[in-house]
């Protein structure tokens, strides 16, 4: 048996695990039989198994099929939450600067609560989307770096390490919960979140430490020190200020993911109801085009103001505003499909 054949067999077995339990055995047997029928055609076997591995599983019996609008809307949620995190961090900084550390701490607590409330669902795929959105908005969103060590060589390792560590956390915690070890799943989620943040802070600050001559042995203390109100002066002060700016939105996104893991109830499915998909689509079009107008309004209003509003530099470009309008349109059109809940609106989870 060649390596490709073994790979195809392994893909079939892994795919069957993702499909609903009541049909997984039959399907696994059937797919292996089809693979057998393709004996002697290794590439055809691989494409057969690869397509199954890459495609989403069928929905559980009684659930509504997940449509492409639903997938797009779900994909837009982490992007929206990343922007929300960036906006909240800006508000925290504003209050901290204007009213002092107590107001800043209170604002940070409120921001964390908002993110915990909004983060309804935690999956590996969602963590990866969070990572991509964080990278895009922290880097592409800030053409002019807000801190001296916030270029792609700093942000890329921070976000990559954070994504990997948090994805692993989600995987482990979800498996523990699936095997009814709830008491272990919750601490693993919290601990994993803290470790992911710690690792991201270190990975994102190593270049700064080298350039500033800060000893790498102090790396484990960078995250807690960066969270303190006054990072101090000198090289370590620059490093900590830099780390604090970088880690703020990442920390709030971590809260959203961990909160999703801590929720005991699994996402529930609603039977197909009176969902008004066409009406939602129309609403999305209007909201998206309205979003363009609002983007232009923000651009005009922001001219002359601080150009380095953290995470929102992309609004200076027409393409950035178009992307924001598209995001708004997608979220509004896909609202019935997402579990993103605002202002006590009726919860609909899929």
């Amino acid at each position: 048996m060649s390596g490709l054949d073994r790979l195809a067999g392994a893909l079939i077995v892994a795919t069957a695990r993702r499909w609903p339990a009541e049909i997984a055995d039959d399907l696994s047997r059937e797919w292996l039989a089809e693979l057998e029928a393709l004996r002697g055609r290794p590439w055809r076997r691989l494409t057969f198994a690869g397509s199954l591995a890459l495609s989403p599983a069928v929905e559980e019996a009684g659930e509504e099929p997940v449509t492409w609008p639903a997938r797009l809307a779900r994909g837009a949620v982490p992007v929206a939450l990343t922007l929300l995190a960036a906006a909240l961090i800006n508000a925290v900084r504003l209050l901290y600067g204007g009213l002092g550390p107590a107001a800043g701490a209170a604002a940070l607590a409120v921001a964390a609560a908002v993110m915990a409330y909004a983060g309804r669902r935690a999956t590996v795929g969602r963590v990866v989307l969070f990572g991509a959105a964080l990278y895009a908005f922290l880097l592409a969103g800030n053409e002019v770096a807000v801190m001296p060590f916030m270029g792609w060589r700093d942000i890329a390792p921070a976000v990559a390490v954070w994504t990997a560590a948090l994805a692993l956390t989600v995987r482990v915690s979800s498996r523990l919960r699936a095997s009814a070890r709830h008491r272990l799943a919750a601490p693993v989620a919290v601990l994993g979140g803290v470790v992911a943040l710690e690792a991201a802070t270190i990975a994102g600050s190593l270049r700064a430490a080298t350039a500033l001559g800060v000893h790498a042995g102090s790396a484990p203390a960078w995250l807690p020190a960066a969270l303190l109100p006054a990072p101090g002066n000198g090289p370590s002060g620059v490093l900590l200020g830099n780390a604090a700016a970088m880690i703020g939105p990442i920390a709030l996104c971590t809260v959203a993911v961990v909160a999703g893991l801590l929720r005991r109830a699994a996402p529930v499915s609603r039977a197909p109801g009176s969902r008004d998909a066409l009406g939602s689509g129309a609403l999305g079009i209007v909201a998206g085009l309205g979003g363009l107008a609002v983007g232009e309004l923000l651009r005009r209003g922001a001219s002359g103001a601080d150009p380095m509003v953290f995470g929102f530099g992309f609004l200076a470009h027409p393409a950035g505003r178009t992307a924001l309008a598209l995001l708004v349109g997608l979220l509004v059109a896909g609202y019935p499909y997402v579990e993103f809940r605002l202002w006590g609106a009726r919860r609909q989870r899929y």
């Binding site: 399907l27 797919w31 039989a33 099929p65 008004d276 129309a282 209007v286 107008a293 309004l297």
Partner: protein, 444 residues
Amino acid sequence: MGSSTTAVLNSLAADPGRGHHGLDLARGAGLSSGSLYRALVRLLRSGQIEARWENGRRTYRLARGQAVHRRHAVPAHWLPAALAALITAWLVLDRPAGVRLSDLGVYTGAVEGLLHGASLYDFISASNAPFTYPPFAGLVFLPLADLSPLPLQLGWTLATVVTVTGLALLPGVRAHAPWYALVLVLSAPVSCDLKYGQVSIFLAALVAADVLLLRESRWQGLLIGLCAAIKLTPLIFIAMLWFAGRRRAAVLATATFTACGLLAAVTLPADSVRFWAIEISHVSRLGYITSVGNQSLNGALMRLDLAAPTRSAVVLVLGGAVAALALFRAARHGRRGDWLCALVVVGAASVVLSPVSWTHHQVWLVAAALLPVRGPAWARRAWPVAVVAVMLLPVTALGPPVFSNARLLLAIAIAALVPFTPARPGRSASGGAPVPTATASTGA
């Protein structure tokens, strides 16, 4: 039903007597294994197909007595429309850069000026065309600013062709859609949309979608309000909704129109004041409005050299009467559920009543070919032929007084005179013509 499940059912129906393996079905239905098995599981759950194990492999066949959903139109039927669209697009894009998709050039030029602090209404293109839409349209066109012209023109043309296909499918008569698409592509209005890179076709599609697709939605009216905020002519459809008993939709459309206008006023206050106070009544900015390209009643009277006060009075009385009659007829058709007819009748009235009705505004008249008329057999047969002839051939170039106003006369006839047959049970949801059920028992 999704396209994958339809493809699987078609593949099974092609040879209903025997069981099909997954690999056979993937090949027959043209699906990847990932898509195929999702479709198979859904069809098994719904009881439309059965599965059994034979010689170590699982085979599928149609459930006993299961009706087969066949595709309504063979893809080959779309070839003439696709070919016509391809040739038209090629001719359009092969024009010299300076005149290619000139209206699109106006949109991009105006918003590029806007981004650099100029007024939307100061822009004059190389072909002497100004920006004439409300300020909200300028905000909507903002993403077009600073894009490379050729890719933008290619994308715009492709989007136009896709929209025309959507318009052809909207009436809900799938069997006729390929031929209606061909007529649309060859018609003067769509040719103009393609040639000038006009936004009108997108707005017409959104209005049609609002009326035909959102009938059951609580959000009906949104798209009409949005379109009216981009270009004022769809405002007449709000009146249609109101008189047809869709009061909520009419209010929503008005609210959307107002909200978009207010948003534009907050964002572009100077341009908003300038448009609503000055430019809106500055009709001569719209181009050579005495030419036969302008098929509105106002345009026809201008060609007759009528003095402005007389012309205004005639437009007000005659045009108003046509519009009132059209709204009455549309309300009646709408209340009966014949929304396609209502849409076309009011669209025709907008051509008559608007101060300027360029060729690209007249797409509603082409759709009149789909509406069956009352009367003797020869008249019922002649009606679509006459509509297609007027809308495809360059009749307005044949000279005054009748031919040069042929499309205006057609619009008046559609809006106020021609007796369209009411919708009957069995017609499509949009009311235009019977829906082919296209199901057949396999006897499997």
